[in-house]
């Protein structure tokens, strides 16, 4: 069970994560507008100027359609292989070369008007082995399936400290693939991907128990 202090720090970090979408600094100048009092402090305008000048793509990190919500909608439990949300030809065999042309490095696809998410495991060549299309929404029989909640964001132990990796790294060892770039899910996109050595700061959380001496 989480103790009180941990709860507080988590809450702080959640708030922090919500506003802390960093973007490149753009130069701004305050200007006087007609009808506004002399001596008004214009520094508060900065945020609005910045908002207007930053393309939303860079702010949300996506084309606006790929969020944690859609991310989990395509999965049955945290970590399950997602279904294919777009049309694929019936004859298509799911071989990598064709999937990889979009999902290898990402990029904008005009037909779907979306940025392709990048696969973290391009070495697996038989894509249809795990990823299948959806051809109907109807079920054969209703299901009683339940799964656990997806991991919450903002699990840092202290305000601002790097959060641990909340998911298994199996098939998802490549952090850059999912956490950077315009195809990344908005809420988990980071701006410091260029640092490269992700696990220098973010370590997998493999247990929630605390250390206890047992001798």
């Amino acid at each position: 069970m989480m103790n009180k202090r941990a709860k507080i720090s988590t809450a702080v970090v959640m708030g922090f994560a919500a506003v802390c979408l960093s973007w490149t600094v753009v130069s701004m100048s305050a200007q006087a507008a007609p009808g506004v009092q002399e001596g008004f402090d214009w520094s508060g305008e900065k945020i609005y100027n910045r908002y207007n000048e930053t393309p939303l793509q860079a702010m949300t990190g996506t084309d606006g359609t790929r969020t944690l919500n859609t991310f989990y909608e395509r999965r049955q439990y945290p970590g399950s292989p997602p279904t294919i949300p777009h049309k694929v030809a019936k004859t298509f065999s799911g071989d990598t070369t064709k999937c990889i042309s979009c999902h290898g490095r990402g990029g904008y696809d005009a037909e779907l008007d979306a940025y392709a998410p990048v696969t973290p495991h391009p070495e697996n060549e038989n894509c249809f082995q795990c990823h299948v299309p959806v051809t109907t929404e109807k079920l054969f029989v209703e299901t009683d399936w339940e799964s656990v909640s997806p991991p919450k964001l903002g699990r840092s132990m202290m305000g601002g400290s790097p959060p641990p990796v909340p998911h298994s790294l199996q098939l998802r060892e490549d952090c850059i693939a999912c956490h950077t770039g315009p195809g990344a899910v908005a809420e988990i996109r980071v701006e410091h991907g260029s640092r490269g050595n992700c696990r220098q700061c973010h370590v997998p959380q493999v247990t929630t128990t605390t250390f206890e001496r047992n001798n």
Binding site: T60, L139, D144, Q170
Partner: protein
């Protein structure tokens, strides 16, 4: 207002920002699964083999509270090293269909009524006693499955063969693996592959014989692709009767006409000998030549009997036999060009290339299934490409425990856990371990599966207990066998997890525990035994199939043979069963080792697994000083067989002018009782269809999705056409996936079988098509 691109993006983003709040503020739920309120917030991971195919991938089942909630590939399992296929990744969802059978049901006044399970077990035991008294012990039967756990099969065999004294024990693996077994027995005298999956990382050439591995053994297929990518010089040749995803991924796709793989294999051997690519050292030391009966029939009539009469022949006689199979002659029979045959032979014949052949249902569900198994072994024996890493004739298995439960435990009419009922020394061993009088075990086999259902139809069998399988979808020529099951005076008990067309004909339904709701073991294609614990409780009154049999056995008065307690029975059964295999040729790992590891290969000798059998470098059962020792045969030599090409039981003619071929798709397991209840899998392939060549469709006047009536001499099915779909049959053939109970394609298929293995051929019969 015209939205320019940027404002479009902005408004979309605003919408998604609200949705995104769900992930940040707890309590707002999103995504399409019901979230479990788990107080600990922890998932614990427990190992198990995947429930579905014979690949036998290891999975880690994520458990929260008393529910399975997630899956990972087991990185400790050498089969799949952490990667599953889409079925494996969603296997836990198969437990949670809303219509799980939770209580026992009994037919009263034509209606099924729920009763306590103990009452249902009483009724079963009483009915068995009564039937044995009235019509004899051979009128009660057990029909099980390659999806039975090893203990399930073991107690079934012990009860029926040891205690009741009838050999009426069969399993659906007869429909899937019997030709593989008789292939091994006739060529090597001992069952199951000599190699292991590690062959995939060593082989330079893969030939898949009628085996769409991309869909049916996907994890092995991707291992093959990964090996090709890493090592560059690897080739995959797909040899099949229709084009599939495997053909698309292969370096070369070669199509042959149905049943002519026999001729192609012989032509490859002809070429190997003509070019003197024979490994003479190997052939002289380790092989002998033989022939058997020809024109052996198809078993479509009741009481069909066949016994082969093997004769020794010389190499010269074998060579003479092959002269009918020159590439040019075989081109005419098979449609494979002489050039392609020579090319295939040159790959097998090149001493610098390691060759692995893979096959499964294409060669096994074949009216000459035993023969084609023999013939592919011939290729590997002539070139000495066997039992060494990468050189492997590899017979893959379909079901998760067809090897473990049916082939190793011997749940077939002629088999015992060690050996066969016909041999006294094997009966003696069984009687001793089972603690039953020797006279109990009947030396005469009774019915193989098709004949068992014929006997049910005729009335020779009055009581049948069906576990973990769905024969009212899977029996070929289904109409006859369903009508038989529905006759008065037939008593059908079905143990299953969901309602199926087979529970529809039942007089008693027992709700079974499924997969990790019970402890058990499976045995996969590469001689790997895989233990799993009871990881989550089953719903309602569900009970493991093993325990159901034990309960009935005790009610029949066999407490002495079934003495175990509910908390220990799996371990005790395993240790008893292991005594049957106590030799370096087949030693099984102890229970404690199985519990710890993600699968252990047998023979397990002095704490070590045997990866390549018959090769003294790896296999301690080989005679000391030998290089290879095929110890299944008395003289240590493998058999090369002269087996001719013979046509299918029913070929297209003027009236019925198409071949019908049936099979699976990656998303669905067998009859779909489990996979259709997994949302992702059902949503991907919600119904079956008939694949038809575009030109045939045009002649028929149907377009994609229009209805086609498929008619044979036995029945008809009307379903949607799939043109240029996932697979593409050649002109003159249609293909139907059999998983969909709405379209019972087996009402159309033919119950012809291989006379040696008695395994039916689901891949070939004649039909005609009509636009519906």
């Amino acid at each position: 207002m015209k939205l320019n691109r940027r404002s479009f993006i902005k408004s979309a983003a605003a919408g998604s920002a609200i949705a995104a709040a769900g992930s940040i503020f707890p309590g707002i739920s999103f995504a399409n699964w019901k979230e479990q309120q788990d107080p600990s917030g922890q998932i614990t991971w427990k190992k198990a083999p995947c429930r579905f195919c014979g690949t036998g991938c290891g999975v880690l089942v994520g458990v929260s509270g008393d529910r399975a909630v997630a899956v990972k590939g087991d990185p400790n399992c050498s089969v799949n090293k952490g990667l599953c296929c889409v079925k494996g990744f969603h296997v836990v969802q198969a437990l949670y269909g809303k219509d799980r059978l939770r209580t026992a049901q009994v037919r009263r006044g034509g209606k099924m009524v729920e009763v306590p399970i103990s009452e249902a077990l009483d009724i079963i035991a009483a009915k068995m006693k009564e039937t044995i008294k009235q019509t004899g012990k051979d009128s009660v039967a057990m029909y099980g499955s390659g999806q039975w756990t090893i203990p399930d099969g073991y107690v079934a065999s012990k009860l029926f063969k040891g205690c009741i004294g009838t050999n009426n024990v069969e399993a659906n693996a007869r429909l899937c693996m019997a030709s593989a077994v008789t292939g091994f027995m006739t060529s090597f005298g001992i069952d199951e592959p000599m190699g292991c999956y590690e062959d995939i990382e060593h082989a330079d050439v893969f030939v898949t014989w009628g085996n769409n591995m991309a869909e049916m053994h996907p994890v092995l297929f991707s291992r093959m692709l990964a090996s090709r990518k890493r090592r560059k010089n690897v080739q995959i040749i797909d040899l099949a009767t229709r084009s599939t995803r495997s053909s698309q991924a292969s370096d070369r796709s070669i199509l042959f006409k149905p049943n002519t793989d026999l001729a192609v294999a012989n032509a490859i051997c002809y070429e190997i000998i003509r070019n003197d690519w024979v490994d003479w050292d190997f052939v002289k030391k380790h092989t002998t030549f033989h022939k058997g009966k020809t024109n052996i029939g198809y078993g479509t009539e009741d009481h069909f009997k066949f016994k082969d009469a093997p004769e020794d022949i010389s190499f010269e006689e074998y060579k003479e036999f092959l002269s009918d199979y020159t590439p040019e002659k075989v081109e005419k029979i098979s449609g494979v060009s002489a050039l392609e045959i020579k090319y295939l032979a040159s790959l097998y014949g090149d001493p610098s290339k390691k060759c692995t052949s893979f096959w499964c249902m294409g060669m096994n569900q074949h009216v000459r299934g035993t023969w084609i198994n023999n013939l592919v072994y011939n290729i590997h024996l002539l070139t000495g490409k066997i039992s060494t890493p990468g050189n492997s004739p590899f017979s893959l298995t379909g079901q998760p425990s067809a090897c473990g439960t049916v082939r190793e435990v011997g749940t077939l009419t002629h088999k015992l856990p060690h050996g066969v009922v016909m041999k006294e020394e094997h009966r003696k061993m069984a009687a001793e371990i089972w603690d039953v009088p020797l006279a109990n075990i009947d030396p005469k086999p009774t019915y193989h599966t098709v004949e068992m259902f014929r006997a049910l139809d005729r009335g020779d069998i009055r009581f049948i207990w069906i576990q973990v399988t769905n024969p009212m979808i899977t029996m070929p020529n289904l109409n006859r066998y369903r009508n038989g099951a529905l006759k008065d005076d037939r008593f059908i008990v079905v143990s299953d997890v969901y309602p199926t067309p087979t529970t529809d004909v039942a007089d008693v339904i027992l709700p079974a525990a499924m997969w990790v709701e019970q402890e058990g073991m499976f045995g996969n294609s590469e001689r790997r035994t895989q233990h799993f614990d009871r990881i989550v409780p089953g719903p309602g009154e569900t009970m493991s199939d093993t325990w159901q049999i034990i309960e009935v056995a005790r009610r029949l008065g066999y407490e002495k043979q079934f003495p175990w307690g509910e908390d220990e029975y799996i371990g005790k059964i395993w240790e008893e069963y292991r005594r049957f295999h106590d030799s370096p040729k087949h030693n099984m790992a102890p229970y404690t080792v199985l519990k710890k590891r993600s699968g252990v290969q047998w023979p397990f000798v002095d704490g070590k697994e045997t990866r390549w059998r018959f090769n003294s470098k790896y296999d301690p059962a080989c005679k000391p000083g030998s290089d290879f020792d095929f110890y299944g045969k008395k003289d240590g030599k493998a058999w090369i067989w002269a087996r001719p090409y013979e046509p299918a039981a029913e070929s297209p003619d003027e009236e019925y002018d198409f071949w019908l071929n049936t099979g699976r798709v990656i998303e669905h397991w067998h009859t779909g009782t489990m996979t259709r209840r997994v949302p992702v899998l059902h949503r991907a392939v919600p119904e079956s269809y008939v694949e038809i060549h575009p030109e045939d469709a045009m002649n028929l006047g149907v377009t994609n999705g229009e209805m086609v009536k498929i008619i044979s001499r036995r029945g008809e099915v009307t379903m949607k056409a799939s043109i240029n779909g996932r697979g593409n049959p050649p002109r003159g053939m249609v293909f139907v996936p059999f998983f969909d109970e709405t379209y019972k394609i087996n009402e159309v298929t033919l119950d012809a079988f291989c006379p040696i293995s008695k395994q039916p051929d689901y891949k070939k019969c004649a039909v005609r098509l009509e636009k519906a």
